[in-house]
């Protein structure tokens, strides 16, 4: 589904060895040795090994792994806070590992903003001055950067705190400053290194929601690091799962949940509340039959009988969903001699998009007897979810 999207960052064959004999370590790696053996033999730590992935323009990519999986190293290789040992990282045609000092500074200024786990705010600067930092580094003049930083602070809900110092703010608010500093900079990629991990769960949930809204609004390419699978699943468009410095699986949250690549991923996802993650799309079935708004009740009744349906969706010429008619209403309309199905149709059924979380559908089923229609943004009918399918999907996901 993502193949036709623009690649913003292409990472190929990326490896990082910590130690003074990286060549030796990589040779052993190529002979098939794993991280612990290489450490034993050479004293070198294989931080990352042959990492391949793409970051698409405008997506929120989560890099997820437990501590020691290399995720912090990976995100720091992207803007070369850590120099990779081998491999390429291409952003807009520039290969980052081969940039010279000056080009690197320019590249960081243009392409990367970063949000840190422990906020990394400058304690000697006010909230406003912190938010201005990136702009100041780039040499933007004072009036413009004040304006831009002010807007960024407004976006994260910190209006009125401009003159406070970071230590006067709570953790959640501090991280908002961190976020504002990143947004003000308007770099093309936002790097978030365990940005919400130091926050308590409630604040964290709020921040995740706000990030999603911001991301939705600004379509900013974001690389988000976390060790928390729940977080990864709930905010990521796609997830890169790392283990011991290697990629285990890359996929959408649903793919990770429903098609885990190996036992490691399977064990990993055991604890996850699946109904929160699975969406209407996963339980969606093809619609067996529909009628046009110009069709009469007789046609509707025949189609329902042929496909053993209790009700049928009514579409207009552009296949947009305009209503539903059930068998009883159709028979009645036929008796009353009505010309088209639209005269007897109902709107009393639920419509959702593909992204609707599965657990929301339960409540809809309990208040309404009709199947749930899945439509796109233009109201074009995509599929249908029946009650049994939701339960099936959950049961299947639970078996993995």
């Amino acid at each position: 589904m993502s193949d036709n999207r623009n690649v913003k960052i292409r990472v190929r064959n990326l490896s990082k060895v910590f130690g003074n004999q990286p060549k030796k370590a990589l040779e052993l790696r190529d002979q098939g040795l794993k991280r612990p053996e290489i450490l034993d033999k050479t004293g070198q730590t294989l931080g990352l090994s042959n990492i391949d992935f793409d970051v698409y323009e405008g997506e929120l990519l989560v890099i997820m792994g437990l501590s020691g999986s290399g995720k912090s190293t990976l995100i720091r290789c992207l803007n070369r806070l850590i120099d990779p040992t081998e491999g390429e990282i291409v952003i807009d045609g520039q290969n980052i590992p081969s940039l010279k000092e000056k080009e690197l500074l320019e590249c960081r200024r243009r392409h990367f903003s970063m949000v840190f786990q422990n906020f990394a705010l400058f304690p000697h600067r006010t909230v406003q001055q912190n938010a201005e930092f990136g702009l100041e580094i780039r040499g933007i003049d004072a009036a413009e950067r004040r304006e831009t930083a002010r807007n960024a602070l407004k976006q994260v809900g910190l209006e009125g705190w401009e003159d406070a110092y970071p230590r006067q703010l709570s953790g959640g608010m501090q991280q908002r400053v961190g976020l504002a500093r990143a947004l003000a900079n308007d770099a093309s990629v936002l790097l978030m290194d365990e940005a919400f991990s130091a926050l308590d769960p409630l604040i964290r949930g709020d921040m995740q929601q706000e990030l999603l809204q911001l991301q939705h609004r600004m379509k900013k390419t974001t690389v988000f690091i976390t060790h928390d699978l729940d977080e990864a699943l709930s905010i990521g468009d796609r997830i890169v799962l790392l283990k011991d410095g290697e990629v285990v699986q890359i996929g959408t949250p649903e793919e990770i949940l429903t098609k885990p690549a190996d036992d490691y991923v399977r064990r990993f996802i055991e604890g996850v509340d699946k109904s929160r993650i699975l969406s209407a799309e996963s339980a969606m079935r093809k619609v067996r039959s529909t009628v046009r708004d110009t069709d009469g009740p007789r046609t509707a009744l025949r189609k329902m009988r042929d496909h053993s349906l209790d009700s049928i969706y009514i579409l207009d010429r552009e296949r947009r969903l305009i209503g539903l008619i059930d068998a009883d209403a159709a028979s009645k309309a036929l008796e009353e001699g009505k010309e088209t199905v639209t005269e007897a149709m109902t709107q009393d059924f639920r419509k959702v998009t593909r992204e609707e979380p599965l657990h929301n559908l339960f409540a809809m089923f309990s208040e309404n007897r009709f199947p749930i229609a899945v439509v796109d943004d233009n109201q074009v009918l995509q599929g249908v979810v029946v009650k049994g399918a939701v339960l099936d999907e959950l049961a299947q996901a639970g078996e993995h």
Binding site: R108, A120, F122, F133, I137, R138, N185
Partner: protein, 278 residues
């Protein structure tokens, strides 16, 4: 039978080296000497020109502004006592010596400390030198100081600078190294140059530590005043030195107490400066 090793002529080598320096670089040392002497005279004359009561008011106001009323009252009491004991002029001479020595020490120590913080190699090279400077008995510096700069205040400042500089270097290095890595990373991540990183992040954040180092430097400089008096520096030190030579404990203690008052005053002042910055 014990094998006899010839004695290593370490002292001869050092003397040879010093002699060579003295003769080859006499123009340089004379230049430094003249410059320093001008500085000393200028500052001394300025402080002496001010009537004692007005200087007293200025110092008290400074204490009030930078610290609190208590320090201001203490300063007035201490300075009035010095005035009353007739030690005002020597106190000013000592203050001049300390201020100039500290200035020179800080001007050298800051860049060296910053460089040592940023370069591991320089750090390793410089640490033993600092140990040497600090632990070598301070008297020893007086001996080469005299051929370099002659008898008097300039030699005293030379010895004082060498002896009191190490903490300023050490604390500067420490302060910069103590800046949390995440903050340095943040500066890097936003594309800061080395200079921007230094002046916008590392230096401001290490300022309290740097100030602690400068405070130590001032204290060490003050502790050198009596030793400096031995090569002809004027001030409270020479009062003490004279009292020792004449075996007059009363005079000695009076001058000694004046040194203590000056020390406490300078210490509290610089510390409050440090807290304000922190």
């Amino acid at each position: 039978m014990a094998i006899e090793f010839p004695r290593m002529p370490l002292g001869d080598w050092i003397e040879g080296g010093l002699n060579w320096l003295t003769s080859e670089y006499s123009a340089v040392t004379r230049g430094i000497s003249r410059l320093t002497q001008t500085g000393i005279d200028g500052l001394n004359d300025a402080l002496m020109w001010l009537p004692d009561w007005s200087l007293l008011v200025i110092i008290a106001a400074l204490c009030w502004w930078l610290a609190n009323v208590r320090l201001a009252i203490g300063a007035v009491a201490g300075l009035v006592l010095i005035l009353n004991l007739g030690l005002w002029d020597p106190m000013i001479e000592t203050l001049t010596l300390v201020v100039i020595a500290t200035l020179v020490a800080v001007v050298i120590a800051l860049p060296v400390g910053i460089a040592a913080a940023l370069s591991e190699r320089l750090y390793r090279a410089i640490m033993p030198v600092l140990d040497f400077m600090q632990t070598m008995p301070a008297f020893v510096y007086l001996i080469p100081a005299i051929p370099f700069f002659g008898i008097g205040s300039v030699s005293a400042i030379f010895a004082t600078v060498i002896f009191s500089m190490p903490p300023a270097i050490r604390f500067t290095t420490l302060g910069i190294r103590q800046v949390p890595t995440e903050l340095v990373e943040a500066a890097d991540a936003y594309g800061a140059t080395r200079g921007q990183k230094l002046f916008k992040v590392q230096l401001p954040l290490s300022l309290p530590t740097v100030m602690a180092g400068i405070n130590q430097t001032i204290m060490l400089a003050l502790s050198m005043v009596v030793i400096a008096a031995m090569i002809g520096a004027d001030g409270l030190g020479s009062e003490v030195w004279r009292a020792i030579q004449r075996l007059r404990p009363g005079d000695g203690f009076e001058a000694g107490i004046a040194v203590v008052i000056l020390a406490m005053l300078l210490d509290r002042l610089t510390q409050s400066l440090r807290k304000q910055k922190a």
